[in-house]
């Protein structure tokens, strides 16, 4: 990194004065959004290059690679870090860049505009104080500009900087700039930013990025860098409401007990009375300790250790606050969620919710709407999928101590973690006001009878199969049981979980021998299927009404009908029970009209039949496709 000219002089002549100046710099985090087409990478490359945030060897490497692409300097090469990104010429993930001037240190979260932009932009925006959006002067305000501004506002970024880029290609026209700004102002005016600044730039030519442009005399506002050096830095930190999530209990010896943490918001002074949540007990702060000594006061985002006057039982996840300024204490609340996982939201599933230093189990009770990112209109929805943004009601198993996100980023933000995959699946921002009354069917059990906390999807994820009932129907002695057990074995060998219900086992003893299943079978089949098992039934079940009863009990999507249609000659050969002996009249049977598969024993053995059934299960989506043999 090379300093600017006057700084170079200062460094040469008086390094101590320079150090004095630089140890008191401020820190500004900003996010840049947009795609290569908008010139975003070029803008960042320009910013780094013109503030001397790039070293000679890095520049050389970039120049070498640029010349391969036929360019003098391809600024985007400064920012694309992964091999796959350079190979494909796209940005996949958020990258963090750093540069500094003598006033401030800057952290750029550089987010891609196309691939997974919602998830990545939300990530980059979560810590930013400023969002920079680029608009191509030739194209004017596009839908994606609105989308990016919306996400920036959703994540609570207070300041928006809009760079109207490629001004050189529009003849540096003031009119183009005014029109574009006016057009976009109208839209972003509704989004609640504290400040919106428009800057006409050409990232490629360097106009108004770091250096003032000689080509736009009509513009008297700041260059982008000047703006970044002046814009307020602390607006994302709530300075009024003291919130202290206890992170770690520091107990090095018997004489010292302190509560370590990072102040999420507000100010604490030695001697202040504080209240502990959830216990509600109050006491006084008698020391604000740091490794550099005790402080009279501390404020967000400092990391300190508090000593208290009384011995109160306090552990990680508790929160210390001022008794006259309390957060919301609630188990249910509404929030905006940004869904970040390939697996859609499952309302039956309980997720792990991490909020400050507290982790609790939580369910999403209902989805109120999703925001259509094309129109920014609210659309009714039942679930959220990857990159969806929606309003939901969340219900936690234990209360959270929170504030609305718009008042307090530190205590209004949370993430959801999938407890099976351990992935972070959503980012949440708590909304103001009480959550709507839960619908009776969705309310968490308070008086209601306890019910399973494990959803069907969780079971099927764990077992690698969907629960289903495989119903073998066919005349006596057609080989149903043999097939059933062969299928069970086959499934077991490929590590799936199945079981057989065979009329000849204990369950059905004492029943008439007409081949019908016992009365409770539909209920039994449903339970086995709910448990996630592949339940294989081997009843002759000659009446189609009986089979329909099973189908409707387990649901058609989980019911697989196998018609074992073995010829009478083979059946007689196989007849061990004497079904086809002398005096036999031939069973009456209503053959299935539309079985999932028809098999017989005339040509195939049981293993081949079992394989054929496995294929059907794969085709029906009940087994993963890798088992298609």
């Amino acid at each position: 990194m090379q300093p600017t000219k006057p700084e170079t002089e200062l460094i040469r002549q008086d390094i101590h004065a320079y150090l004095q100046q630089h140890q008191q710099k401020e820190l500004l985090r900003f996010v840049t959004v947009g795609s290569v087409d908008d010139g975003k990478s070029t803008l960042i490359g320009r910013l780094l290059h013109d503030t001397h945030g790039v070293y000679e060897d890095q520049l050389k490497a970039v120049k070498r690679a640029s010349s391969r692409a036929g360019l003098e300097i391809d600024f985007s090469l400064f920012t694309d870090g992964l091999k796959a990104e350079r190979e494909q010429g796209i940005t996949i993930d958020v990258a963090y860049r750093y540069f500094s001037t003598n006033k401030r240190k800057f952290i750029i979260a550089d987010t891609p505009g196309h691939v997974q932009y919602t998830r990545n932009m939300a990530t980059g925006a979560s810590t930013a104080s400023v969002a920079i959006i680029l608009i191509d002067a030739r194209l004017g305000v596009l839908q994606q500009s609105r989308r990016h501004a919306y996400i920036a506002s959703l994540l609570g970024i207070p300041q928006l900087a809009v760079c109207v880029n490629k001004m050189d290609l529009e003849g540096y026209s003031e009119e183009v700039f005014r029109k574009t700004s006016a057009h976009f102002s109208e839209f972003v005016g509704q989004l609640g930013f504290r400040g919106v600044t428009f800057i006409p730039v050409s990232a490629l030519a360097g106009d108004n990025v770091v250096h003032r442009s000689p080509n736009m005399g009509w513009y008297d506002g700041p260059t982008l860098l000047e703006h970044l050096e002046r814009v307020p830095v602390s607006e994302t930190v709530n300075q009024t409401d003291f919130r202290y999530p206890v992170q770690y209990v520091l107990r090095p010896d018997l004489n010292y007990r302190g509560f370590s943490g990072t102040i999420a918001s507000g100010v604490i002074r030695s001697g202040d009375t504080i209240q502990v949540l959830p216990s509600g007990k109050t006491t006084q702060v008698i020391g604000i300790d740091t490794a550099d000594g005790s402080l009279e006061q501390a404020y967000a985002p400092m990391s300190v250790t508090l000593r208290l006057a009384e011995e109160i039982d306090i552990s990680r996840g508790d929160m210390l606050v001022h008794p006259d300024n309390l957060p919301v204490v609630a188990q249910r609340f509404d929030a905006m969620l940004v869904w970040m996982s390939e697996r859609p939201l499952d309302r039956q599933k309980s997720y792990l919710l991490k909020h400050t230093t507290r982790s609790v189990r939580a369910e999403v009770e209902q989805v109120a709407y999703t925001t259509d990112l094309e129109t920014l209109k609210q659309e009714p929805a039942a679930r959220l999928e990857l990159n969806d943004i929606g309003r939901v009601t969340i219900s936690c198993h234990r209360p959270l101590f929170h504030d609305p996100y718009r008042n307090n980023r530190g205590t209004g933000a949370f993430i959801l973690i999938d407890s099976l995959t351990n992935n972070t699946v959503a980012a949440g921002m708590i909304l103001e006001g009480e959550a709507p009354e839960a619908r009776a069917s969705q309310r968490r059990p308070v008086i209601e009878h306890p019910h399973s906390q494990v959803s069907a999807d969780e079971r099927s994820e764990r077992l690698g199969q969907k629960g289903c009932t495989v119903w073998l129907t066919g005349l006596p002695a057609s080989g149903k049981s043999v097939i059933a057990y062969a299928l069970e074995r086959r499934l077991f060998d490929i590590k799936r979980l199945a079981m057989v219900v065979d009329p000849d086992d204990g369950l059905s003893q004492g029943l008439e021998r007409n081949g019908s299943s016992p009365e409770q079978t539909p209920e039994l089949a449903r339970r086995f299927t709910d448990a996630g098992l592949i339940a294989i039934f081997a009843y002759a079940s000659p009446l189609s009404a009986d089979r329909e009863a099973i189908r409707s009990a387990v649901g058609p999507e989980r019911f697989v009908e196998v018609y074992v249609n073995t010829s009478s000659a083979i059946r007689k050969l196989r007849d061990a029970r004497g079904d086809y002996g002398p005096g036999h009249q031939g069973p009456i049977a209503e053959a299935p009209a539309n079985p999932d598969i028809e098999v017989n024993f005339d040509a195939e053995d049981a293993d081949e039949v079992a394989d054929a059934i496995v294929k059907v299960l794969v085709k029906r989506g009940l087994l993963p496709s890798l088992y298609a043999l």
Binding site: T8, I11, R86, T262, S303, H355, N422
Partner: protein
């Protein structure tokens, strides 16, 4: 007047300077990992970044001992001054130091001269690191890497998830928002945690200066025996250094901007003998710090490839 730690106070009321913010963020990460993992460990490489990381850990758990051991992966090719610094530094502070060397590699005579920097690094550093982490049963390991060091690092999370083989999958990283970190892992998997992610080289030096943090003397210029190879100055640190026919070490005023294994680390001609001198030189240089690191130049995206295998 030179600034001291006492001057490192808020620039304005209720407003932290950039170094104080970085410090607070690092302390938050250190405490969070210790609170949420069962067996954390801190990778200690003896370099300036490790010095800063350990200093921050002392601050995070002040009054007490560090609630985790330090782990040094000793390739046996470190500068001798690094090893003596390590031993006295850890002894003075009462740190629990664990040292791991790939003994099989030593027995097989793996060295940077015969095997090339890439293979040597894989065996003596990456494999050794993975074995040490596995043997220790550590579920979280702190590393002193910074995102400004190298471009694949720029994309790495503060909590970098590693599978049971220690591998990093850059295309499948967990989203990381605010300061809310996801610490959930299955048995055998682990997290590499990087408390210095948002620090730059300049921040590190300013902080060392302001906080009086001890660093290995090799960072300061002194007369040292070096040979020049392909424009890089290599220090002849012990008798194992292989000299080309006719090659003679000569004494030059040099210092190191980064430290690693001596045959793979280039020195700079310099007269900077104080921290302000070093910072001045660094600010005026035109080259990045990794330029002196031979292991990064092996192949394009070599750091990314190493990290995928389990390197820090």
């Amino acid at each position: 007047m030179l600034a001291t730690a006492a001057d490192l106070k808020p620039a304005l009321d209720h407003h932290l300077s950039h170094l104080k913010q970085l410090e607070a963020e690092s302390i938050h990460i250190l405490r969070e990992v210790v609170a949420e993992f069962e067996r954390p460990v801190m990778l200690y490489s003896i370099g300036k970044d490790s010095s800063v990381m350990v200093h921050l850990a002392k601050k995070a758990f002040h009054r007490g001992k560090l609630p985790f051991p330090l782990l040094h992966i000793d390739t046996t090719w470190k500068f001798r001054e690094m090893i003596s610094f390590r031993d006295s530094f850890c002894a003075e502070n009462g740190f629990e130091l664990r040292i791991h060397t790939n003994k099989q590699g030593v027995e097989e005579g793996i060295n940077p001269f015969d095997h090339g920097s890439s293979k040597y690094t894989t065996i003596m550093k990456t494999h050794a690191l993975l074995a040490a982490l596995r043997d220790g049963g550590y579920d979280a390991a702190f590393g002193g890497a910074r995102r400004d060091e190298e471009r694949s690092r720029a994309k790495e999370r503060i909590y970098s998830f590693r599978d049971r083989y220690g591998q990093w999958d850059p295309k499948n990283q967990r989203p990381e928002l605010w300061n809310v970190y996801n610490a959930k892992i299955n048995k055998g998997e682990s997290i590499r945690a990087f408390p210095l992610s948002n620090w730059t080289e300049l921040d590190i030096w300013l902080y060392i200066h302001l906080e009086n943090i001890p660093i290995v003397p090799l960072y300061f210029a002194a007369e040292r025996p070096v040979v020049e190879r392909e424009g890089t100055l290599i220090m002849v640190d012990d008798e194992r250094m292989r000299l080309e026919p006719g090659e003679k070490p000569k004494l030059e005023m040099v210092r190191f901007r980064t430290l690693g294994c001596y045959p793979l680390t280039g020195a700079l001609r310099s007269t900077a003998t104080t921290l302000p001198d070093i910072i001045r030189e660094m600010l005026l240089t035109k080259y990045s710090e990794r330029q002196g690191r031979l292991i990064d130049h092996d192949e394009e995206a070599s750091m990314e490839a190493k990290k995928r295998e389990g390197y820090f």
